[in-house]
Symmetry: C2
Subunit: 344 residues, 2 copies
């Protein structure tokens, strides 16, 4: 059972390959192909189960109908969910997605970007690592359709879709303060990237704008390389030393390590320590007590990303960068002293 080609269809239909191509690409009418011929070709296509060869088509058109998606870590719940949304949205436009995970390693990110270029993807969706700016600048200069996600480079005008991280952490801090916690701590990563910086600033800002609070805020920065093994340990030492009455974790995996640390210390949430984490996660919903968090609108992010990318791919290349900043949502549960009420 050999693969049939456009040529075979043409032969059987008694027309030229060109005509078949027109029919296939919906350009039949504008090229004044007769109704009769259109029908004949369409029937044949169905009958023989003809499928155009994407490589031949790609070679000719320069388009692969593929987009490259580079996330930090596909096995992280936030990115995995996002990836699925993006896959679905892309499919609506006939695009396939090639995923990859940087693991926040510069070398790996560069290598993967090369891989995507090499694959001639039609567009890029990236959560860049800290030092990927030059590579991305290059892509922009080459006018490649591209959308940044989750983080961006303030000095590099590109499309991006992010959430308001400042607002998110502010909400967290305000919430904590509103529940009478006074001695707050924050756990972040050492990352200098926008999303983390803004989470830090938003938190601090909310703290300082409350004039009744004079307590300095303890801060722990976990380095990503070390995170894997002893992150929970680092956190528990930090908590033990600083004795905050509430703590904010700047990402879901930090929050998870945080739970582990607090569990290890044997402290009770929320009576001995209050807690809020960025990002939602099953464990936050099910843990006892359930953990209050700042959730990102994952579906919306994915939808906007594809929307922007598709506009770019389809010629809207020369307008200004499109930048969406979505609002996170505080999901109040039990880790700060109230009964659970998910405001979804």
């Amino acid at each position: 059972m050999k693969k049939i080609s456009l040529r075979d269809i043409a032969l059987r239909a008694g027309v030229s390959p060109t005509t078949v191509s027109f029919v296939l690409n919906g350009k039949a009418r504008e090229n004044r192909v007769s109704r009769e011929v259109i029908r004949r070709v369409e029937v044949l296509v169905k009958e023989l189960g003809y499928e155009p060869n994407p490589m031949a088509r790609g070679l000719r058109t320069g388009r692969t109908m593929t987009i490259g998606l580079m996330v930090e870590d596909i096995s992280n719940h936030f990115f995995a969910t996002l990836a699925k949304v993006i896959e679905d949205e892309a499919d609506k436009f006939g695009y396939d997605v090639i995923y990859c995970s940087t693991e926040n390693k510069e070398a790996r990110a560069k290598k993967l970007l090369e891989m995507l270029k090499h694959r001639r993807v039609d567009g890029y969706i990236l959560t860049p690592t800290a030092h990927l700016k030059d590579e991305i600048r290059k892509l922009v200069q080459e006018e490649k359709p591209l959308v940044l996600m989750d983080r961006y480079f303030p000095t590099l005008p590109t499309n991006y879709v992010v959430i308001d991280n400042f607002q998110g952490s502010s909400m967290a801090a305000t919430h904590l303060l509103g529940h009478g916690y006074q001695k707050l701590a924050i756990v972040t990563t050492v990352s200098r990237q926008t999303q983390m910086q803004q989470r830090l600033r938003g938190f601090m800002h909310a703290l300082h704008s409350d004039s009744t609070i004079a307590t300095p805020c303890a801060e722990l920065c976990i380095s990503f390389e070390k995170a894997g093994e002893n992150a929970a340990e680092q956190i528990s030492r930090f908590l033990k030393k600083n004795k905050p009455d509430a703590v904010f974790f700047a990402t879901n995996y930090l929050g998870i390590y945080g739970i582990e640390a607090i569990k290890y210390l044997g402290w009770k949430i929320p009576s001995q320590i209050g807690m809020v984490s960025f990002d939602d996660h099953v464990i936050f919903r099910l843990y006892q007590p359930a953990i209050t968090c700042v959730a990102q609108p994952v579906r919306k992010i994915g939808e906007y990303v594809i929307k922007v990318l598709m506009e770019n791919i389809n010629g809207g290349m020369h307008s200004d960068p499109v930048q969406h900043i979505l609002s996170p949502q505080l999901i109040i549960r039990e880790s700060c002293g109230e009964r659970s009420h998910v405001s979804e």
Copy 2:
């Protein structure tokens, strides 16, 4: 900055495209290209940063250097981790991976399989849905390199890599019995597929081979369609009605719903109810008490899958199917009455 082609290299090197192609594909020596020419070409390639166009190459050779990976749900921790391992392993052989999630929906699975075929992937790694047998049989008949994962069709001779699900659930049951639980229950899905059937059988077998136990085992089958919304509710009703003293969940997401259900009922683990779940998950590690589980050797699975697939792609097509059955591992934590000791 235009893309340079093999032709450009040839022009600059003052040789023919043929020669360049030979050098690029390591066929230079066997075609007696002179050392001198080889060097000249290689230098040019480096200098100009030449990258062969995979579409042109693919069109010519019929290979895409891409493999299709179809899992049940990429946002499920087990599959996400597996996907990352597979991505890494495939990369070692120069292959890219296109992922997709069936969500256990037949129509979706078929559509995705079509998509992969259409993309001309060089090999398939699949976790089939229940009724995908005919489609897979077709792939086998067409001699497409293919490996099944997680589940398989007993009557269809294909390559596969799975774990010993029977053994896994037996271990769980034995463990529960060994801790004095007498009235066991099991929660599975309605799936008729091998992995679930064997988990059920393994559990029952261990139960019946202990002659001191006469208690019939309560069994709840959750239908996947309904699982999303009210699975936890179904489970809590089931537990309330049957009052088992221990319960086994046949997948990680069932285990997670189980935690939710038990939490809802306000029962204490392990004193009021013992619990074991299939598959590991952060939440099982961090929940209080930590949940004992039957973990799958994810990295090994991924490694074997790629190994088998690559052997197939590289011509080993005509030998018998290769079938690996790996051993799961019981990770004993606190949900059956002992102190946590992860035996990793």
